[in-house]
């Protein structure tokens, strides 16, 4: 929790020397509490005060990356418990767990599946972000080789070294340290050795304990050993443990400024039944996990998990939107049909997808309606005949088409009369109500 002005004042030199530009230390303290000014403006502040104030002003949940390079996934930094209050910031990473005993072919195949998991949905590229390699063989040379193999075959995936044996983990960490793998995990017994390896290689370290009290003590210990980037595993396995522990962690961090739990969370949701696994993963995704580890990555499962994550991490105030312009689809010529819709991402991607499916060369005019769907925009007065007419005129599209015909969504058939009045010389055609009827409609013209 942020400190109050009076609390800050107690830490200042109290000399009122004005070097900070404020008449008194108290005035400076008040300003600091409001934010927007930096402590460094006071040249005489003690190291002790810097440390205390620095900690108090740090974000309640520490932010750092899982993995290295362009595909690293940002974790932590969340500020709310409910998405209607404010956008959830850093979408959780999805990871798959592989046993090192799977054999080279098995490992290579799974790693390739991860590397090829990317799907485009509503204009975002979504993928399985990370691979957890589990130390199941009991052979540390084999483990390091498996980790190396997976790292090579999935060059953009973040790595999680799922290995509680310090010697084996240390060797693997060295082998792939430039990929910044997450070390999973330190327990109370192994904290010293694991922290030493993490520190030496500059890696984040997961802390694993049974329950939140033990976990808090463990993160304090690890931090004391010099590791700052910590990931929390409270031992939660069942859906109930996941929702309860994750909620308590998030609340403690945000509402109580409880530093020992102010870190990203990892949940393993491994289940034999892949549909059930997806459902339990949904609990973790919705309830505050930063890394969700599953045991299999069927394509259908990836798609449901990606979609849920995308839905919950959208901005509740600003719908996802695409740019206003006339989009060419399937290489249109002057006499290709021209259609219009709104700039709500979902609407645009559904409609443009169906036009692509039809293979009919076409143009799709996308009008800025602040990211609202066709009917919502119409009901909100943003997709009206007058506004559509103005947009079509200003777009300059008239010069590019040989027949002035505009196809409007079936849902707003009611606009056709008014549009014909406002867009002189244009023919208005009412298209189908649902996008999936567009291919038949276009081909039948």
């Amino acid at each position: 929790m942020a400190l109050t002005g009076v609390q800050i004042f107690k830490l200042l030199p109290k000399t009122n020397c004005k070097k900070c530009g404020f008449p008194t230390c108290l005035a400076f303290a008040m300003k600091l509490a409001q934010g927007g000014i930096d402590l460094s403006a006071c040249p005489d502040v003690s190291e002790e005060a810097k440390k205390t104030l620095g900690e108090a002003s740090a974000p309640p949940i520490r932010t750092f990356a899982l993995g290295a390079g362009d595909s690293a996934v940002k974790m932590g930094g969340e500020t709310v418990l409910f998405r209607h209050d404010k956008k959830f910031i850093n979408p959780c990473a999805l990871a798959v767990n592989l046993k090192d005993s799977l054999g080279d072919d098995g490992l290579a195949k799974m790693a390739a599946d991860v590397a090829g998991s990317e799907i485009d949905r509503v204009g975002q590229k979504l993928r399985v972000d990370a691979i957890s390699i589990e130390y199941a063989s009991g052979d540390s040379a084999k483990y390091a080789a498996a980790v190396k193999l997976v790292a090579d075959k999935a060059p953009h995936a973040a790595l999680i070294l799922n290995c509680r044996d310090a010697a084996a983990a240390g060797a693997a960490a060295k082998a792939v340290s430039e990929r910044k793998p997450l070390m999973y995990c330190a327990t109370d017994e192994t904290a010293e050795t694991m922290a030493a390896i993490a520190k030496e290689n500059g890696l984040p370290l997961a802390a694993c304990a049974d329950g939140l009290e033990a976990l808090s003590a463990l993160t304090e210990k690890i931090k004391g050993l010099g590791v700052e980037d910590i990931v929390l595993d409270s031992g939660a396995k069942t859906a109930r443990e996941i929702i309860e522990n994750n909620t308590q962690i998030r609340r403690a961090a945000l509402r109580k400024s409880f530093k020992p739990l102010g870190y990203p969370i990892i949940n393993f949701v491994l289940r034999d039944d892949p549909v059930l696994e997806a459902s339990v993963a949904a609990v973790a995704i919705a309830k505050y996990a930063s890394i969700v580890v599953v045991s299999s990555i069927e394509k259908w499962k990836n798609l449901v998990l990606f979609t849920l994550r995308q839905n919950l991490y959208t901005d509740p105030q600003v719908p996802m939107q695409v740019e206003q312009k006339v989009y060419d689809i399937n290489e249109p010529t002057a006499d290709s049909p021209l259609m219009i819709t709104t700039n709500f991402s979902l609407t645009y991607f559904i409609v443009s997808g169906e036009i692509e499916n039809s293979k009919v060369p076409s143009r799709l005019a996308v009008m800025d309606c602040e990211g609202l769907s066709v009917l919502t925009a119409w009901a909100a007065g943003k997709f009206t005949a007058a506004k559509i007419a103005a947009f079509i005129k200003e777009s300059g599209i008239e010069a590019q088409v040989s027949n002035k015909e505009l196809i409007i969504p079936g849902q707003v058939a009611i606009l056709s009369g008014a549009l014909e009045d406002k867009l002189e010389g244009w023919k208005i055609t009412v298209g189908p109500r649902e996008a999936n009827a567009i291919p038949t409609f276009l081909k039948g013209r």
Binding site: F82, R83, H84, I119, R121, L212, E213, L215, S216, E220, T238, A239, R240, I243, E244, T247, Q248, R251, A252, R255, K256, F258, K259, P260, L261, D273, P274, V275, L276, A278, S279, V280, A282, V283, A286, K287, E298, K299, W300, K301, N302, L303, V304, L305, T307, L308, Q310, N311, L312, T314, P316, L346, I350, N436
Partner: protein, 314 residues
């Protein structure tokens, strides 16, 4: 620094109701905590899932889910019995699709007969749903309430445009009632107020803030439900305390992800699992947001969500 469990205690409580009759009565709601946070409040009843059936063959359901019922779906009575006896449904939701003017325009009297036949064949609680045609539902649901008299059903949905006759009928025949509005917490609140102003007990109401499928506006439903729950619990707003309904199946089993074949969209994986998982995930998100009662279609999706709820309440 030592860890103290950060608990919240609320003044408000979700209202509890029951539906059905005899030894199969089911209770809904009654919790005094946010969903599944039993460390800080009471959660007397787990969310209930009802199997959806129709008064006509489900020609517009995609194959994945239509096939499950192909032997029985020609007849609502056989379909209902199959759900109860073979699939062990705890509740059934009968949708009177064919009363819709565009779907057969069956009369209210026809609907009454079907309801009576179904009720005679089952003993699990029944939910009776109109065809979502504002004017037609106003007469069909009135007849339905009478036909189901004495069985303590849930009927719906009453909407702003037709609630008056439906509320009066539910009141007269002692049923529970679903009040549906469209994805707006203020509209939901307002409709509940209008209905209770007619003398309808708020303890008999269920709020349907409108469902939406994963990938197709789920986040709007999710957040509206969370806000309704918080209003009922934290602000003790009595008009926001009825149990919440998630009418999941009908929103899921029409979108492209549950219909398109793997040949059309190879990146999306097998159609069968994709459809089932889509319904299950949508429902799981709904229970996390506060849903007390769900209407679903595919037995495997229902089973999966049931297992997830088992885990959440274990």
């Amino acid at each position: 620094m030592s860890f103290v469990v950060p608990k919240e205690s609320f003044n408000g409580k979700v209202l509890a109701l029951d539906f059905g009759s005899g030894d199969k009565v089911l209770a809904l709601g009654g919790e005094s905590s946010l969903p599944f946070l039993s460390f800080e409040g009471q959660i007397p009843n787990r969310p209930v899932i009802a199997y959806e059936i129709q008064d006509c063959p489900p020609d517009d359901w995609p194959e994945t889910v239509r096939n499950v019922y192909k032997e029985v779906s020609g007849d609502p009575v056989g379909w209902a019995k199959y759900c109860q006896d073979t699939l062990k449904a705890k509740a059934i939701a009968l949708r009177l699709v064919s009363t819709h003017p565009d779907r057969g325009d069956r009369s209210a009297a026809d609907a009454s007969k079907i309801i009576k036949d179904v009720l005679a064949a089952i003993n699990v609680p029944l939910i009776i749903l109109g065809s979502n045609h504002i004017e037609k539902d106003a007469t069909v649901l009135v007849a339905a309430a009478e036909a189901a008299s004495g069985r303590n059903c849930i009927i719906g949905k009453a909407q702003e445009g037709n609630y008056k006759t439906i509320v009066a009928a539910a009141l007269a025949h002692n049923h529970k009632l679903i009040a549906m509005s469209e994805l707006d917490i203020n509209l939901a609140k307002q409709l509940n107020i209008l209905i209770t102003q007619m003398g309808f007990d708020k303890e008999k109401l269920i709020t349907d803030p409108m469902c939406s499928a994963l990938g197709y506006g789920l986040e709007y439903t999710y957040s509206v439900m969370e806000r309704i729950r918080l209003a009922g619990l934290a602000q003790n707003d009595a008009t926001m305390q009825p149990p919440i309904l998630g009418d999941v199946g009908m929103y899921v089993w029409k979108i492209k992800e549950t219909v398109a074949s793997e040949t059309d969209v190879p990146d999306w994986g097998t159609l069968q699992e994709r459809g089932i998982a889509w319904e299950a995930m949508t429902a799981t998100a709904m229970v996390l947001a506060g849903t007390n009662l769900m209407i679903m279609r595919h037995p495997r999706a229902i089973e999966t969500v049931g297992k997830t709820i088992d885990e959440l309440t274990a």
